[in-house]
Symmetry: C2
Subunit: 214 residues, 2 copies
């Protein structure tokens, strides 16, 4: 690409703070927003949209997300520490506005489930609320929180305890046909997108070009 | 959703290893694949597709990715430690097969740039190769590597030194109109997707519904 503009660190550091936040947050590209469901020991629920969910490993099954210092989901972290569990619920495309609205700085006594029109759903022996409207619901127990001294973020690592998806999207080899779920993705802080499948590729080997398998 | 099937941890642990890897890797949803560009001190280049790139912060501008133990990009990590720098290059949708092919276990003396048909591009005073064919190129210096004892992964944190994107996709507020770049996303290990913009939403406030701003 010859038509690219180059920004160096000095230029980045001189950007206005909000402009830089929009710019740098856009760089990781398309991410999947999840609704982080928690509650405190009294059963007061909390729901917050996050977009840094990452696969860490399959055995044990681990996922992580990043919590910025002073970010909106701070109540969620307190709840996770209290109960030891949380849920991650993929955002249905037709509810993206309500999901985005959970990022507003509601007062502590407000549940974003009520304020934003989502329904809390519980599973046996699991003290965090799932989002009933989501077609991809994951229940996790807190494994550890790694504090990153470099900028004050916390990396929250959870062990997957419960997975809920429609049975018919599970392929013969275990892969999920997520394009059948009508989820959305987010870029930057606030731009939402839907998806069109291009294709699934065979396992890459040095002596062979990958081919479409689905 | 009432049509969801539930898998608990016991069931997950009993899955066949490859089936479980496909299943659990699918859970984070849509991710943006990046080509990780590195070289050793002798200038031998390496290119590897990764899909765990995450925004960590904007000031300083930090991004991270996860390196699994014994994963294909292990040469990349050695190069990053040697030179202190690496590049992340978003995958153009029309090159998704070539990008996927960089995940093959090539011998050490093979450069995936050559084997998979990508062009190395250099910027002044920066000892890691960019991918010329990418419309979103990021150059980073190694900030730190956090080893995760919980499963042997490494979290590689880089500080952004160089950003290259077309000037005309930068919005007035600093956000990038990534839908104009024809990037792709990946789900699981091998399913690729393109995108259709739904809309951009206003900053969420408790007393007001979010509205479309773009």
């Amino acid at each position: 690409m010859s038509n690219l503009h180059l920004w160096d660190l000095e230029t980045i550091n001189q950007m206005d703070q909000r402009y830089r936040a929009q710019f740098i947050n856009s760089l990781p590209g398309f991410k999947t927003p999840f609704l982080l469901g928690t509650q405190n020991q009294s059963g007061h629920t909390n729901l917050s949209i996050i977009s840094s969910v990452t696969h860490l490993g399959s055995h044990p099954p681990l996922m992580s997300f990043i919590m910025r210092p002073n970010s909106v989901p701070r109540h969620s972290i307190e709840n996770i520490k209290e109960t030891g569990v949380f849920t991650l619920n993929a955002v249905p495309a037709d509810r993206f506005k309500d999901a985005h609205q959970t990022s507003a700085r509601y007062e502590r006594d407000v549940s974003e489930f009520d304020a934003c029109g989502f329904t809390a759903l519980y599973e046996k022996d699991f003290a965090a609320p799932f989002v009933s409207e989501s077609s991809l619901q994951i229940g996790l127990s807190l494994a550890q929180i790694n504090h990153l001294d470099i900028n004050g973020c916390d990396m929250v690592i959870g062990k997957i305890e419960i997975i809920k998806v429609p049975f018919n999207i599970v392929g013969a080899d275990g892969s999920l046909k997520l394009e059948q779920l009508d989820l959305c993705s987010v870029t930057g802080l606030d731009s939402y997108h839907s998806h069109v499948k291009i294709g699934r590729l065979s396992y890459a080997k040095p002596d062979k070009k990958p081919s479409l398998i689905d």
